[in-house]
Amino acid sequence: MGENARILIVDDDENIRKVLTMILEDEGYKVDQAETAKQAIEKTRKNFYNLALIDIRLPDMEGIELLTKMKDTVPRMRKIIITGYPTLQNAIEAVNRGADAYILKPFDVNKVLATIKEQLRKQEEERRYSQEKVAEFIETRVRELEAEKITQKRP
C-alpha cells in the first residue's frame, strides 16, 4: 500500500527536493514537488497526496502557517515538518498547527523513511477505522430497527 502512496515535498532548496525525490521514488512512492507554499496549496488542491514533507521555512510563508491552511483544505493528508533546529516552542506549535510529525535537518534518511512509513500506516489505519465505523453504525441501526419491529409485533 505504501508503494502507491503519493508524497509532496515542499522545500525551496532544489538539492534537497532532488535528493529526497530520488530516494522516495526508489522506495516506490509517487513523489511531487513544490517550491513555495503557494505552489503547495495549488497542488494539494488539484491532486491527492497521502503525505507532505514541509520545510519549516519557505520563501513566501512560514511552514507552520502553511500547515494551518492545509489542515483545513486537506485534513486527511499526513504532514511532516522538516526543521533545522527544533526547539520546544517550534515543536509544540507545529503539532498544534496540525503537523503529524517532524524530522530534523540534516536528516538521517533511514529515520525519514521510517517516519513516512509510520505516518502512512496511521493514515491507512484511520481510513480503515472510519470504514469500520460506518459498517458498525449500519449494523447497529439495522439491529435496532429489527428490535423495534419485534416490539411492535408484541403488543
Binding site: I23, Y85, D108
Partner: protein, 1303 residues
Amino acid sequence: MADEEELAHVLKKLHMLFDGLEDLVYVADPQTYEILFANDKFKELFGAEVVGRKCYEVIHGRKAPCPFCTNKYIFGENIGKTHLWEYYCKKKGRWYKCIDRAISWPGNKYVRFEMAVDITSHKETERALAESERRYRNLVEAAPDVIYTISSDGKIVSLNPAFERITGWKCEEWVGKPFVEIIHPDDVFEAVENFRKTLAGKPEPVELRIRAKSGEYLVGEFISVPLIENGEIVGELGIARDVTSRRKYEEELQNVSTTLRALVQAIPDIVYFKDVEGRNLIVNSAFEKLVGLKASEIVGKRDEEIFPRDLAEQCRKSDEIVLRNGVAVRVEEYTVNEKGEKRFFDTIKVPVFDKEGKVVGLIGVSRDITERKLIEEKLREREEFFRSVVENSHDGIAIVDENFRVAYSNNVLAEILGYSKDEITGQDFRVFLAEESKSLFATDKLREQAKQHKGQVFSSTYELKIKRKNGEEGIIEVKATTLWDAHGKMRTIAQVLDVTQRKKLEEERKIFEARLSELNKHAQKLNKARSLKEIYRLTLDAMEKTLGFEYASLLMVEENVLRLVAHRGYSKIFSLKLSIDEDKGITVRAVRTGRAVYVPDVRKDPAYVKGGERILSELAVPMKVGKKVLGVLNVESQRLDAFGEDDKKLLEVLASHAAIAISNLKRQEKLAALNAYGRKLGKAKSVEEVCKQTLNAMQKILGFKYVDFFIVAGKKLRLINSLGLSRPLKLVLPLDGEKGITVRAVRSGRAVYVPDVRKDPAYVDAGISGILSELAVPIKLGDRVLGVLNVESERLDAFDDEDRRFLEIMASHVAIAITNIERTQSLAAMTKKLENLLIGSAKIMTIKDAHKRIRKIAEVIQKFGWRRVVIGRVDENLNRKELITVGLTREEIKLLRERQAPGHVWRERFSPAFDRFKIGEFYYIPWADPWAREHVFGVPPDMPTEEAIKHMRTVPSRLSEENMVDWHPQDLLYAPLRTPEGKIVGILSMDDPVDGRKPTKESLMPLEIFLHLAAVIIENADLMESLEKARKELEIYANQLEEKVEERTRELKEMHDKLLKAQRLAVIGELAGMVGHDLRNPLTSIAGAAYYLKRRLSQLGDERIMEMLDLIEKNIAYSNKIINDLLDYSREVKLDITETNPENVVNEALAVVEIPSNIKVVKLVDKKPKMKADSEKLKRIFVNLIRNAVDAMPKGGTLTIKSMKKGDSVVFTVSDTGVGMTKEVMEKLWTPLFTTKAKGMGFGLAICKRFVEAHGGTITVESAPGKGTTFTVTLPLEPKMEEGGENVWVKTLESSLWTTTKT
C-alpha cells in the same frame, strides 16, 4: 369682410369698455327682446347665462314683455333720444336710474341699450328730505302761534292756519298784501322800524297790535328772524303770539289808577301789589331795582319765581296773614343778594278790598332799613367797647366839658386822686391840682387855646402835681385830647397816669447810679492794683469816700479762718481772726452763707462780735468769685437799721469788684508761681523729684491741703506720694477696676470732680477721716495719661473750675516733665544699650571660642535689661545641643534642663500659629493669654497663677507681679537664631525685664542684631566642627585613595576588556549562528546524496567506496554537531527547572558518553541533596566534561566524578589523569572555538560555563601538564535566575536568517 372685421374689433372694444363699468349695461333686440349683450356687472346680478334669453324674463321675471317697456320712448320717431327712468329692483332692494337709448348694432339694425346706475343712496336721501319737509309743514300748520313770512318789500308771503284761527281773516285775504295794513295805525311806525331792523340782521322782539276781522285789535308779541335765501336777506320770518288777554288785564289795572301808579313809581320804597294768588301785579321801579328785573319780567309772577326759596317763604307768611285776615301787618324782612350781602326791610302790608269788601290782594311797602340797622349795630358795639375800655383802663380817664368840669371819671382816676367818682364828677378839674400846676391852666389861656383849635382834635401831654384828698401830693402824667362833638361843643378826654412812685424811684435811682458809677470808676483802679494791700486800700477808700460808710473793714478768708486785713473809721487799730467753722461774727455768717448779711440791730444778734465803737447795725457782704468766698466787706453804723437795700447792692458791687481784683491778682500770682514751678520742674531729674515739687506746689501755690500724686504703671495707678496726711500712704488701684476717682480721671482722660464723695461709690477712703470732696486731674500728654494729680478737701463742694484749671496747668507741666524724664532716661538707656552693643560686639569679635562668644552675647543682652538670658544651640530638629545661660541660678538651670521643650515643640512655636505673638523676630507669649496658658505654659487658663507656676512647662520667674509694670513675670519671650539662609541654629529666650515693661518692637530692635550674630557664630561653630571632622576623614581617605585608584583602574580595565571581548564574542556568536544554520541545508542534501549512493553502490561490493561514503556520513554528523554547538552557544539560555539530584545528573551524562575500556570510572556521587536545575543542561555540562576527560586520556586513565553538598550548593568535580594543560591553555579554556584538539570541542566548555553560570553557579579548572585536569562545578541547590545577565545576543536568529535567505 374688412368692415366686418373692423366691426368685430369695435364691438370687442365696446364690450371691454362696458365690462369695466360699475353700472349695469345690456343690449337687447327690440323685436325679440333677446339680450344680445350684458356686461360683467349685469351678469353678476342676473347670472352668467343671460345672453340669448328674454330681457323681461331675466330682469323682471316676467313671461311677457313688460307693460312699462320703454322701447316706445327710444324707437320709432324717438330714435336717437335718451329715455331716463327709475327702477326699483325688488330682488336687490335697490334703486336704479336707467338710461335707455337705441344704438345701431351689427346686422344693420337698431337695438335697445340700457344702462342702469345704482341710485339707492341718493333715493334714500331724497326720501328723508321729503319726510322732513312734511314734518315741518305739519309743524307750521299746527303751530298755535302765527308763523308768517314777509318779503323784503313788506308784502306778506305766507301765513299759517293759526292766523285764520286767531284773527278770523282768511290767509288768502292777506297773502301778497303789505303787512302794514293789518297793523294798528299807532303801531305802524314801530312795526316798520322793527321790520327794518330785522332786514338789517338785527331783529328785536316787538309788541304790535293787529286788526282782527272783527275789527278789534289784538296784541301780538312778534319774534322775527331774517329770511335768508342764497346768502341774502330776502325778508322776514316771524312768529306772532296773541297776548291780547294779558295786555288787557294789565291795561285795566293801569287804568284803575294811573295816578296811583305814578305815585307808586315815585316812592323810593319798594311798592308792589299782589293778587290773592300771590302774583305780583304791580311793582314799582324800586322793586325792579331790588330784584334786577324789568317790571314786565316780574308781573304775573309769584315771589317764589323771583326770590330764593327762603326769602319767598318769609314774604309768603306775612302775605298769608294779610290776605286771610284782612289786616295790615308790619314785619322786618331781609333779602340776600348773590354776593351774600343782606338787606333789611321794614315792610307794611295792607289788604286791598273790592266793592264787596272781599280781599283781592295786598299792597306792600318795604323800606330799606339796612343802613340804619348797620349804624345802630355799630353804634351799640362801639359804645360797648368804649365803655369797657374806659372802665378797665389802667390809666385814670376823665372827660372834661367846655366849662372845664369833669363830666366823667373812671375808678382808676378816683383812686389816683383819692376822691370818689361822685366827688370828682362836676368839679372843675383844676380843683385837684397843686398850686404850681394850676397856673398852667388859667381859664383865659384854655379858652384861647380852644379858640385856636376850634373844630380840630388836638392833644397835649402834661406832668402835673396833684393834691389828693388826704393832702398828699402826687405827680401825674396827663395826656389830654380835645375834640368837638356834633354840637360843636368842646370835650377833653384826659388820660391820667400816677407817676408819683416812679418819680420817687427815679430820684433814688439817680443817686444810686451816681454812687454806682463812682464805684465802677473805682473798680477800674482796683483792676490796676498791683498788690493785695493796694486792693484793700482802694476798696476801703471806696467804702468810705464813695459809698460814705463810716466804719468799714475788709476781712479775708485764709483756710479756715476769716482774718481782718484792713479797716477804716475805727478809733483804734485792731486785729481780728474768726474761725469760719464757728458761729461767731456776722462776717463769718456772710462767708458761710455766701450772701450779704444785714443785722439792723446787732444787740439782738448773739453772733455779733463787739468792737470798740458803740455799733448798732452791721452789714457784711461776701467777696465772691463764683461760689468761692474770698473775704468779706463789712460796714457798721452807730445808728439802728442804718443800711438800706442800695447800700447792700452797692457794697455787693464793690465786693464783686474787689473779689475779681483779688482773684485776678491771686491768679496772676499763682500763674507766675506755676510758671516758676514749671521751669523748676523742667530741671527735675526723676519722677520722684517731679512728684515732690508738684506736691509742694499744689500745697503752697494752689493752697490745697490734701494733695496726691499718682502715676500710671501698666494697668495700675500707683500713688507715688501725698502731702497733708499724717502718715505715708500706699495705694495701688487697678485701672480696670471700679475703685478710685483718680482711676476714673485716667480712664476718661478728663478732670473728675466729686463734690460729695459720700455719694460716689468709687471713692477710696485712704484713711483720712472727713474728706468730703475730691478733684482728680489727669496728667496727660496727647492722649496718653501718665498719672493723676488729686486734691481732697474736708469741705463739701470745695473745688471750683479755677482749681481745676490750675491743676490742669500743673498737670500739663508734670506731663511734660515726666515725658522729658522718660525720654532722657530712655535716651540714656538707649545710649547705654548702644554702648553695650558696640562694646559687646567688639568684645564678641575678639573671643575665639564659640561657646564663650555666645555667652558674651547673652551677657550683652542681659545688659539690655533682661535679667535672665538663655541661648540654646539646636540641631536640625531643633533639639537643644547646648545651653548657655546668664542670670539663672543653679536650680533654675537644672529646672530648665528638665523642662526644656523638645524640638518639635519649638518648631511649632515658630510656626504661623504663633505669628500673632510676633514682635519683630521675637515671640512674646503673654501669660495672660488663655490659649498660650494652655498650649505653651501647659496649665489650664483658669488655674490661679500661684498654683499654675508649680505645674507649668516653663521655668518660673523669681520676681513678683508687683515689681512689674506691664510685664507679667511668667511671660515668655524668645526668638529663633536664624542663619542668613533661614536655618534655625539656636533659640534665644529671655525674661525678667529690669524695667518691668512689655517689650516693644523698638525695644527689641537692637537685640535683633544679636539674633543674627549669634546665629552666625553658632553656624560658624557648627561649620568649624564639621570642617575639623571632615579634615580628619580626608586625611585618612587621602591615604587610601591611591590604592583605591589603582585597584579601581585595574577593575575598570578588566571590565573594559571583558566588555570588549563579550561584544566581540557576541558578534562572532551571532555570525556563527547564522553561518551554522545555513550550512544545514547543504549538509542535508549531502547526507541524502550519500545515502542514495550508499544504497545504490552497496550492491557493487566495493569496500573502499563504502568506506568513503561512511567517512562522508561521519563528517556530516560532526559538522552538524559543530553547527548545533554554535547555535546553542549563541542562543539565549533558558532554564527548564525540574527537581533532580547529583546522582541522576551524573548517571544521565555517563549514559550518553561511550567510555573506552582503558578508562576507569570512579563515581563518588550521592543521591542527596535534592536540587533544582535544568536536567537537560546539566546533562550536557557533564557530557561535555566527561568527554573532555575521556579525550584527555587517549592512553587510558581514571575518570573520577565526585559530588558533595557545601552550604547551599552542590560541588561536583570531574577529574582525569590525562595530559593536563599549560597555564596559557587554561586562560583561554572558556573562550569559544578554542580547542587544543585537532577536532576540537569548539564551543563545548564555553557552553558549559554559560550553562553553569545560568544556574548561578561557577566552574573552575585546575590543571598542570602531565598531571591531569580537574573541573569543579559548584551549583546552588536552587538556581538564582539571573535576569538579563547574559541575556543575549541573537534572539530571533531564525527570522534574521530567513530574511537573508529571501534576498
